[in-house]
């Protein structure tokens, strides 16, 4: 099952729990089997099954708990990360901090689910914007602005230095 590692990885990030991640993957596969008629030949199978996974997560225990936060985040979308930070952040991004994988993992964990899922689908699953739009059932323009927001939030989080850098300064 070549998609299984990717499905599990995304479920694990979203649920933040290994047992629940496995439940979400299991339910996704069962729904995929039951709903196989819903898959149209010639359309993107990977996007289809990730959409089932994502919808399964949203109706799961941690997904429902996150939904309240998600709604809040969407409300705050305009203010959570200042526009100025997205459009004109410091170009001299701390390359040193980027090399610190623990700091990056922590920054990813701090992303609200709508930003986390978009950046994982784009960078880890290597999906194109139109595939991500199909998974999340949102317009392409929203995919683009969420990716910009997600990366800006990661940079802000890394630059804020939430974990001490492990490298000594060159």
């Amino acid at each position: 099952m070549p998609l299984l590692p990717g499905l599990y990885n995304l479920a694990r990030w979203l649920t933040r729990d290994s047992v629940e991640a496995e439940d979400v993957v299991q339910e996704t596969l069962l729904k995929a089997l039951r709903g196989f008629d819903g898959f149209e030949a010639g359309t993107n199978f990977k996007a289809w099954i990730f959409r089932i996974l994502r919808n399964t997560f949203l109706s799961s225990r941690s997904g429902l708990a996150a939904t309240r936060t998600v709604a809040l985040e969407e409300e705050l979308e305009g203010t959570a990360i200042p526009e100025s930070a997205i459009d004109r952040d410091t170009p001299e991004l701390s390359l040193l901090r980027l090399a610190d994988r623990d700091a990056l993992e922590q920054a990813l964990q701090q992303l609200p689910p709508p930003l986390l899922e978009v950046v994982l689908l784009c960078d880890v699953e290597e999906m194109k914007y139109r595939e991500i739009a199909a998974v999340l059932e949102i317009p392409m323009g929203t995919v683009m602005s969420r990716i910009a927001r997600a990366r800006a939030a990661l940079r802000i989080s890394l630059d804020a230095g939430n974990t001490p850098g492990r490298r000594s300064a060159r």
Binding site: K46, D87, M144, R166
Partner: protein, 240 residues
């Protein structure tokens, strides 16, 4: 100077989402704008780091077997449809994912070492240990790295050791050895064995070559001709 590129455009560049005319116009701006090109570079590096850090969770052992049991039909039910559907799901999945995760991990590693090499070449600061003497460079890593390695007694013709840095690749501490191959420069990253294996690859005009020993793995990056880089890697391998 045109107006700066928007965050969406810069992200679309690193994600390969611009169509040729959009890309041409963006590249024209980037060529004359240090600020936008720096941000674009930083976004590209961030994307690669996220690709590596985001693939954090490996599926638990036995998950695939458990899932296969779950999607298999109950034995008392004679319906053949679920089997056919299960087979169809798996078959389509196989057909649609030509790239394995190993392949993705390998490209992420190649991208990371090429980035590190470019970043080292771009800044004009001397290496942390500056020496062409292997007896100076090797001991410098004592206490800085949780493993040891040997440097070759003699190097191929026209190859010199410039020095070394302590660096990180895939979040692990590595020795970055800096060599000069005639007018070209090379970085060789030496790590404790345990990551992704890279034998040979090319990226952005750089050649990448690697080897593994039972304890170590090494990846070299250079814009010199591939045989010269491989000759250097062979010399290093023979010294282990």
């Amino acid at each position: 100077m045109n107006q700066h590129l928007s965050a969406e455009t810069l992200n679309a560049i690193v994600d390969g989402e611009l169509n040729p005319p959009e890309l041409a116009s963006a590249e024209q701006h980037l060529a004359g704008c240090l600020e936008c090109s720096s941000r674009c570079l930083a976004l590209g590096i961030l994307k690669r780091r996220v690709a590596a850090a985001g693939a954090k969770y490996e599926q638990p052992s036995g998950l695939e077997q458990r899932m296969r049991r779950v999607i298999a039909p109950a034995p008392q039910r004679s319906a053949w449809m679920p089997w056919a559907l299960a087979a169809a799901v798996l078959a389509v999945a196989v057909a649609l994912v030509p790239l394995s995760r190993d392949h993705a991990a390998k490209s992420a590693l190649v991208a990371e070492v090429v980035d590190q090499h470019i970043a080292t070449m771009a800044v004009d600061t001397p290496p942390e240990v500056v020496s062409s003497d292997r007896h100076t460079v090797k001991p410098w890593f004592q206490g800085r790295l949780p493993f040891s390695f040997n440097l070759p007694q003699s190097l191929p013709a026209d190859v010199t050791l410039d020095g070394a840095n302590l660096s990180y690749v895939e979040g692990r501490p590595v020795a970055q050895l800096l060599y000069r191959l005639g007018k070209h420069r090379a970085s060789v990253f030496v790590a404790q064995r345990g990551g992704v294996a890279v034998s040979a690859a090319d990226r952005a005009g750089f050649h990448v070559a690697g080897f593994r020993t039972p304890e170590l793995e090494a990846v070299g990056v250079s814009d010199a001709e591939r045989p010269r880089l491989e000759e250097l890697m062979q010399a290093l391998k023979s010294a282990q």
